[in-house]
């Protein structure tokens, strides 16, 4: 290891920290120097598995002892703001797992601290850095859509059958997920919203929210936890966006559709594919034969790309996270702008604030029809 290696610390050694360790391990020019968790045993178990001996249960102590260049904060979101502030104040750059903060106000304040101290800050919106997402961004910049997006659709689903996640949070009313303003939704929708925020204006004109509880969650005694969400958004320039989140649908969804005035794109992150829908006119019955064949060709092209990447050993699951971290580290080394513009991080937080405000503080409509009074 050279002296210019970035010295990285991880605060929060739960499940997601393993993915960070694996991603950092793939990036040259950096090394993990310290681990921290409120439960020292958690830090030690990760340290034992990834060969890091400096383990702490207090972030302040860790910052004083190690002075890391970068801190990855992978704790529950309630601790994000205070921990990130401490890290920034002590001179470390910060990578914050999603959701970035609990509120947009906290996000704004963190960004201000980072800018004031000339430090970099990023959010764990790694879905935006998969190969297909990068390719989609490139096409949009090249003008493939034929202009500004007219409409966006982000579909995201979650499988409640993973009881290792749902069990603890339903079994404990004071579980950290249930203490978030948006509860379960707060912890799950960031990726889907961030994908929309990238293509929306800063000024959001209107947001309509529908939220409900699925029959499965009702059966599991989900109490006040909601897991069905539909959101309609319109930005200041008239672009509309629809966000769909569900725990009921199969097969799983993690998709973004961007419709432009000329062409459209469909990004499917479950199958790592990007479908380009090009507008063409066909005569008569050819309309029924050529477009399906073109779709088939697009799907074959994606399968080929994935196969090629697999053979080249570049089709690993945490590619997006590795790419995001790598770009973040480059921005630190080269004193460049971080990979995710702060505008997008803030807009994501603001949209989420508005959604949860309408659900839990307001009176947003449900999806199930209200029973008719007798």
């Amino acid at each position: 290891m050279s002296h210019s290696d970035l010295r990285v610390a991880i605060a929060g050694c739960g499940k997601i920290a393993d993915q960070h360790v694996q991603a950092i391990d793939r990036i040259p020019g950096c090394r993990i120097v310290a681990l921290c968790d409120r439960e020292l045993l958690m830090a030690k178990q990760l340290g034992e598995r990834c060969g890091v001996s400096q383990c702490f249960s207090d972030v302040v102590e860790m910052l004083a002892a190690v002075s890391p260049d970068v801190v990855h904060i992978t704790t529950p979101p309630q601790a994000h703001f205070s921990l990130a502030s401490l890290c920034l104040e002590s001179g470390s750059h910060v990578y914050l797992e999603k959701p970035f903060t609990v509120t947009a106000t906290e996000a704004d304040r963190l960004i201000q601290i980072a800018e004031k101290r000339d430090l970099r800050l990023t959010a764990g919106h790694n879905c935006q850095f998969t190969r297909e997402a990068i390719e989609m961004r490139r096409l949009v910049k090249q003008g493939f859509l034929g202009g500004k997006p007219v409409h966006l659709e982000s579909h995201f689903s979650y499988d409640l059958s993973d009881k290792s996640y749902v069990g603890p949070l339903l079994g404990n009313r004071s579980h950290w997920v249930r203490r978030l303003p948006g509860k379960l939704l707060h912890n799950l929708i960031s990726h889907g919203i961030a994908k929309l925020a990238e293509f929306l204006d800063d000024e959001i004109a209107e947001i309509f929210v529908f939220a409900d509880q699925s029959p499965e969650l009702e059966r599991l005694n989900g109490e006040d936890v909601l897991d069905e969400l539909r959101v309609l958004i319109r930005d200041g320039s008239g672009t509309t966006a629809f966000f769909f989140f569900s725990t009921q649908v199969k097969p799983r969804l993690n998709r973004l559709r961007i419709c432009g005035p000329l062409n459209s794109l469909v990004l499917d992150q479950n199958s790592s594919s990007l479908i380009r829908n090009v507008s063409r006119n066909y005569k008569s019955y050819l309309t029924f034969f050529i477009p399906p064949l073109q779709s088939a060709r697009e799907n074959m092209r994606n399968a080929g790309v994935n196969l090629r990447n697999f053979v080249r050993r570049r089709l690993y699951q945490d590619y997006g996270m590795t790419e995001l971290i790598s770009r973040f580290y480059s921005s630190i080394r080269d004193s460049q702008a971080p990979p995710i513009p702060y505008r997008e991080i803030l807009l994501t937080a603001k949209i989420m604030d508005e959604i949860f405000g309408q659900i839990y503080d307001g009176d947003c409509p449900k999806l199930k029809p209200e029973p008719v009074p007798a």
């Binding site: 739960g14 499940k15 694996q22 990760l46 290792s164 050993r313 089709l315």
Partner: protein, 348 residues
Amino acid sequence: MNQERIVLSSERILVSGSNGFIGTRVVDALLRYGFSSIRCFVRPSSRLDGLYKVRDRYSAADTVELFQGDLLSPQDCQRAVDGCSIIYHLAAGSDKSFAGSFMNSVLTTRNLMDATVGRAELKRFVNVSSFAVYSALKIQRRGVLDETCPLEDSPQERYDPYGFGKLKQEELVKEYGKKFGLPYVILRPGTVFGPGKRELSGRVGIGTFGVFIQVSGFNLLPLTFVDNCAEAIVLAGLKPGVEGEVFNVVDDELLTSGQFLSRYKKSVKRFLSVRIPYFAAHLLCLLWENYSRTSKGQLPPVFNRRRCAAEWKQIRFTNQKLRNRLGWKPRIGLEPAMLSFLSQFTDR
């Protein structure tokens, strides 16, 4: 049966994981033994149907106390252990991640043990571990696996989060035994089977690739029928003079994976399975392991030589220590046990 016990039947007993596959049988056995104060630690979101059935069968609404709480909460653990003479700790982390498994196996156990420190009333802490803690890498083919065999020394390479959690849990229990005099006993059940568990053990074979692949077919399964296993767990809490001991739990009569799969296919459903010899599986695991390393985890090392040896090597098992020291013997023989297991697929 030797009735010598370290506690009176009126003393309070705590069972964590009491609504689980083995836990309900442990509660059943305790009621059968005549215990009149059983506290069952359950999560508020847990399905308690099995536990209710046991309670109703013994008309034991006053005997069985349902204690709702979270083992990750030290306060809940403090309240749960209050006044308990024996703790049967069955709750375990079955999370797919290392961190999740560690948290749900080790932190929970730590909280429970912390709550017992300084409590004179505790006479026994029975920690239910697993065969997953053993390493079979250095055991000779047809050798015998017993309590003295080496434990897994590289759980990361084995890529078994459950086994990792159990290994660390055992280490911590032993540490509390040394530091605080915790009167622990550790049980390591083999492959627990019975009605209520429908999945085939990985030791029988793997269905990951669309076709069911059976390795060897001649490897003996360390089977223990759930009721027999529960009986061993209960005895580990009651017998005097076994503090600090470790017991493997396997039944007397065992089947090979080939015999087990054949019975399963006949009774449950027919499906295509392919049998490959052990050496071929070992070679494939070696290749997979190497590919996983060189590709930096493009394929996670789920198949590796350590797992191959642990699950498919032809080794034998013994329950001698369990029989000699705890006076245990299987209550249910192999044939009725298999019928009971298979009946869950046919009974409506």
